[in-house]
């Protein structure tokens, strides 16, 4: 399995660590129900799924990876920062 890091190019999976679902972070004051859903509730699709991976053995960047859970095909990779997943100023 290889992931194409937007900075480093195609690299072996051993250089990356899975960091969880690629979800936008709710506002701090969003309330318990929304935060509970953010932390615990997940779909479990057999197909494309958006995930966060970190290229920790390489450039250190956090990536939003779209992976087909049925075939492990890598459908797309972007820097998490460019994908709008970076924590905005004023957020925790």
């Amino acid at each position: 399995m290889r992931i194409t890091c937007p900075l480093c190019g195609a690299r072996d999976r051993r250089e990356f660590t899975y960091k969880g679902a690629a979800l936008p972070v709710p506002a701090l004051e969003a309330g318990v129900a929304e935060w509970d859903a953010h932390v615990h509730l997940r779909d479990n699709p057999a197909g494309p799924l958006e995930e966060l991976w970190q290229h920790d053995m390489g450039c250190g960047a956090w990536l939003k990876v779209t992976r087909n859970t049925a075939t492990h095909e890598m459908l797309g990779v972007a820097l998490a920062q460019d994908a709008g997943l970076a924590i905005k100023e004023g957020q925790p």
Partner: protein, 180 residues
Amino acid sequence: MQLAAQFPCAGLLPLTIGDVTLTEDTPAAMTLIAPYKGQEKPLSDALNAAHGMGFPAPNRATGKADARAIWFGRAQALLVGPVADPELAAHAALTDLSDGWAVVRLEGARAEEVMARLVPIDLRPQVFKRGHTARTELKHMMASITRVGPKALQIMVFRSFSATLVHDLKRAMEAVAARG
């Protein structure tokens, strides 16, 4: 009690096995340069004025043997050699990493064959050319690898891994030499 300063690979290098040689480089200073948001261009200009090289693009190193700027990960580079000009601090966060990394040089016609046993990327000279650098994994260690000559690679790992690095490189050099 008397404490004596030591280089990271003191007592371990140099080493020659077959036609591949492993030596330690001991740059006077190493400084991590992380540009502030939107400051990439002025930083690169300041770096050029102070040390004679621009800020490197991803997977590239700029400068020469005694003063090199090596891309060191997302939005950061490592200045190896000279003490960083304090003027750079106007455009970037500077962190002194001198003594924090072990720096070795692997040289020889079969250096890439040695590395092929240790890292998951292609370091052959037709692919990994002069001025190219990579952050990658070397036997589970976070490493920085830079081509510094037609037959020479610079390898860096955290200083605390220096003995492991030399051990792994030595075993790979022995294995390549044994194949004749």
